[in-house]
């Protein structure tokens, strides 16, 4: 698919075909996309665990659910869990990744990068982030996951930014592979018990993955605030001019699609509820 079309067709999918497995090569393709996502401060934060629903026990499935994660967890055959490992910051404090990129001509003297700068200034800057006195719990003590480290708030922010970028790459790669996907909340304490991830990993919402159980339009593109309320030029309050010709071009490229709600959406949802034996 073309990039604009991928962006346009992405939806949070909540009805998956529960019986159709996702091919392993498609899962790997998504992981390869995540692997190539931009790194925050060149730190290798991101860790991913792929879970096949059918390899979980009924009890494990049950404990993963939250009151807002209901049918979709049963329906999606694959869960991709995203984490950021705070231990990944330590090599960056030594300037390891920066030096590697200097040797590859990615970071260059033209932009002020030298070995001394990487190890001294840049590495020390990351050290100050890691050791910052403004500290917060690594995870919220919910869902039986009470033991948590107290870490630098800024380091945690960087880690969560890295996860967000990885999740977006994964979502778009899933659409490009013809799959449906949704970032969904789960019980982190239960996930920790099932997956056994280390204390230094920052958890986040997993991506539920599978083939669409609903139409790929999924009721149409979701509403957004008016463009002019969110995008500015020169200064806050001065809207970025939205050129209608560009909008038309993006409609033709399927990035901008018909908005929700479709007239037939509620009939579709009710039909899906009946098909899957769900309440209405």
């Amino acid at each position: 698919m073309e990039f604009k079309s991928v962006v346009g067709w992405r939806r949070s999918i909540r009805f998956f075909d529960p019986w159709r497995e996702v091919e392993r090569e498609k899962i790997q393709t998504i992981l390869e996309a995540i692997y190539r996502a931009p790194r925050v401060l060149e730190i290798d934060f991101v860790r991913v665990v792929v879970v096949l629903r059918d390899e979980l026990s009924a009890d494990e499935m049950q404990t993963l659910k939250t009151p807002t994660t209901t049918a979709q967890l049963d329906m999606a055959p694959v869960y991709i869990f995203f984490f950021a490992d705070l231990e990944a910051i330590e090599p960056a404090c030594r300037g390891d990744n920066f030096r590697q990129l200097i040797n590859m001509g990615v970071l260059n003297p033209s932009h002020g990068w030298t070995e001394e700068f990487a190890v001294g200034t840049a590495g020390q800057y990351i050290r100050t982030i890691l050791d910052d006195e403004d500290r917060v719990p690594l995870r919220l003590p919910v869902g039986g996951d009470s033991a948590t480290q107290i870490v630098s708030r800024e380091a945690l922010r960087l880690a969560r930014t890295a996860i967000g970028i990885a999740q977006e790459y994964a979502l778009l790669a899933a659409v490009d592979e013809g799959l449906g996907a949704q970032l969904s909340g789960v019980n982190v304490g239960a996930a920790r018990g099932i997956l056994g991830f280390p204390d230094t990993w920052v958890p986040s919402s997993p991506m539920l993955l599978g083939y669409h159980g609903e139409t790929i339009e999924a009721g149409g593109q979701r509403p957004r605030e008016p463009f002019e309320e969110d995008f500015f030029e020169l200064r806050y309050g001065h809207p970025f001019y939205r050129e209608p010709a560009v909008v038309d071009r993006l409609k033709a490229a399927e990035m901008i699609q018909d908005p929700a709600p479709f007239s037939w959406r509620m009939d579709e949802v009710r039909g899906l509820a009946r098909k899957f034996g769900l309440p209405d």
Binding site: P67, T70, R270, F276, P279
Partner: protein
């Protein structure tokens, strides 16, 4: 506790909220009598009135203006509906009980996979 009858169920505030919400979302319902009859059967199965079931699952927040979901009670009702569904051998009837709680703000769903 006195036997719960369909008139009690029909007149309960939570039942009216359920039917109204369903009507708003899906339009005209085919037959509310069937819904009331099934909910009454579930109430008798649970030994609780409709309002009592909702109150079991939602408690007032600290400020008193909002309601907080009681996850353990929700879980118990999810299990109870599964038992009810097995007893009446009908997923649609189980889903009517679920629909009642869902439209009263208590999310739940049956298992989908065999």
């Amino acid at each position: 506790m006195a036997e719960i009858d369909s008139a009690d169920v029909r007149n309960a505030e939570s039942t009216r909220r359920w039917l109204s919400s369903r009507q708003d979302l899906w339009g005209a319902s085919a037959n509310n009598d069937t819904l009331i009859e099934t909910l009454t059967r579930f109430c008798q199965f649970a030994g609780k009135s409709p309002d009592e079931m909702v109150d079991d699952c939602l408690r007032p927040g600290k400020a008193g203006e909002t309601l907080t979901l009681r996850t353990r009670a929700r879980r118990q009702y999810m299990d109870l509906i599964e038992l009810f569904e097995g007893a009446v051998r009908s997923r649609p009837q189980g889903n009517i009980a679920r629909s009642f709680l869902i439209h009263n703000g208590i999310a739940m769903n049956p298992g989908i996979l065999p």
